[in-house]
Amino acid sequence: MKDGARRNYGVLYAGPTALWFTLFFAAPLGIIVLYSFLKKGLYGGVEYVFSLEAYQALINPTFAAITIRTVITSFFATLITICIALPCGYFMAKSKNQTTLLLLVIIPFWTNFLIRVYAWIAILGNNGFLNEFLRKIGFVKDYMQFLYNQEAVILVLVYMYLPYAILPLFSTIDKFDFSLLEAARDLGATKLGAITKVMLPNIKAGIYAAVLFTFIPIFGAYAVPLLVGGKDSYMLGNVIADQLTKTRNWPLASAISMVITAVTTLGVLIMMFLNKRDANRAAEERRAFADAANASLGGDASLGGDASIGSDVSMGDNKS
């Protein structure tokens, strides 16, 4: 519809965008892929000889342990974030003052990332706010070590990425038809049962999005483990930086970057797959449910709604 007799200026318009990303995004990524298969240069850099050394180094116990730790840390941080974010999103969706509640969630998020990390150091440090408080009430004499361990890293990561989970969950639950919950209760479900069996399946798309938005940045975390973690809470992001700037093993840094990129891509693909599958199944279930409800309620069309669980996760447009 948009072409007709007009000249096609698409290339002219999108050219600069394409060029910029080719130069400064695709090309650098390509170089990383290439470097990960090369030999390490003597004084940093690379030698142009094909080698799998970098990937072999990834399997050695030190790096394998860090990889496993990164996965475990990301898993728990994401799990805790979602468990907190779900009730929050639910409460916000029910509320009358949605704008105010949204602002409450977003305002702390506006504060500079590093300042927020620093604030946690000021709270958890040996001379920090918390220890000061514990000393005052006579709970500890000297101090308790809260910082520079795995728990501190998870705590701060949860803090950093909570809004990333709350916002998509809120907007999904906001679209959820609460009369379905009432229907379930009328039909004898307990409150918890209604929520887990009726609401959760309907807000799956939001949960997937929340998991993705938190897991991916946490998996690539760099600054948080660096600042509040100890040597034993290093994550893959920190190893990349060390290999790049200290050890100067560029092929290894590239190979670890490839691992993170692969995990990210995999996460996106899984989410797309799950959403697509759910969209098909949910559409059928909803149709069946709506038919049944229509029959029993004498045709109240509002049940079952048409807020379909979308199947498209790509951010691009899909209309042309």
Partner: protein, 280 residues
């Protein structure tokens, strides 16, 4: 994003009634929400309290503005870093806004060969962890022997800003009524006239919020900047980082409070400004 997340909300009488019914009594979700808000605000609260504390240590001694005085009159390096940040933020946001707006218009209105490529490369940088972009750009700059400094930071920031501008303009274009363009063409407007008189004004709210988002993201970024910065190109987040890492001075507390206030004031005036534009 998917419909379930951004689609319309159910507005039937039954749905509204049910939502209200589920709102009434004190609940588990309310408790969790209040605790979460307390958790989210606790660090900010601690920073604000400490910024007014006279003592250098964390123990409370006396109310004082000494750290604010030091911030505004005794921190030359900090303000130099801030100037660097501001330069990079405005330059990269401006570039990203021009390129991203044109890109969004091109992808939205036309069909062309490398369109799927443009859609992919504008989506990927948003989901890839920052460190990947930082590392790949560092290796790239080293490869083409480019000296690290404000220019490399500018390039990196434009790269991660572009997708956001693109997305916001695209969202605006998606709501656009194509018949207006057809009307303009029937009345004899050429491509440039259609662009400058119709499309750009209609997208203005998207363009402005894209630009401001870009400025904010750029001012905020630490990880990517950390990799592509060189000697003499310290930005504000990098300066804060070195303050945290090597000797914390309570100036960081007063700086935090000023930055928090700055963002709150900026964001509220921005919201009103956008509303004003939309109303016009």
């Amino acid at each position: 994003m998917s419909n379930a997340i951004w689609g319309p909300k159910p507005t039937s009488a039954a749905a509204r009634h049910a939502r209200q019914a589920y709102r009434r009594k004190f609940s588990f979700s309310q408790t969790v929400f209040i605790a979460t808000i307390a958790f989210l605000f606790l660090p900010l609260f601690v920073l604000i309290v400490y910024s007014f504390n006279e003592s250098k240590a964390t123990e409370w001694t006396r109310f004082s503005l000494v750290w604010y005085e030091k911030l505004f009159f005794g921190s030359k390096d900090l303000w130099r870093a801030f100037t660097n940040s501001a330069i990079v933020a405005f330059a990269s946001a401006a570039t990203a806004t021009v390129i991203g707006t044109l890109g969004a218009i091109g992808v939205n209105w036309y069909k062309f060969k490398f369109k799927p490529y443009v859609q992919a490369v504008t989506f990927l940088p948003m989901i890839l962890p920052e460190i990947i972009i930082g590392v790949s750009l560092l290796i790239f700059f080293a490869g083409i022997k480019m000296r690290l400094g404000l220019v490399t930071i500018y390039i990196a920031h434009t790269t991660f800003n572009l997708p956001f501008v693109y997305l916001m303009v695209m969202a605006r274009l998606d709501e656009f009524d194509y018949s207006i363009i057809e009307a303009a063409r029937d009345l004899g407007a050429n491509e440039i006239q259609t662009l400058t008189r119709i499309i750009l004004p209609a997208c203005m709210p998207g363009i402005i919020s894209g630009f401001l988002t870009a400025v904010t993201l750029s001012l905020e970024d630490f990880v990517i900047t950390f990799f592509v910065s060189g000697p003499g190109s310290t930005t504000l987040p990098l300066y804060v980082y070195s303050m945290i890492r090597f000797g914390v001075s309570p100036v960081i507390n007063s700086l935090s409070v000023v930055m928090i206030l700055g963002t709150v004031v900026l964001t509220f005036s921005l919201r009103n400004f956008l509303k004003f534009i939309a109303a016009k």
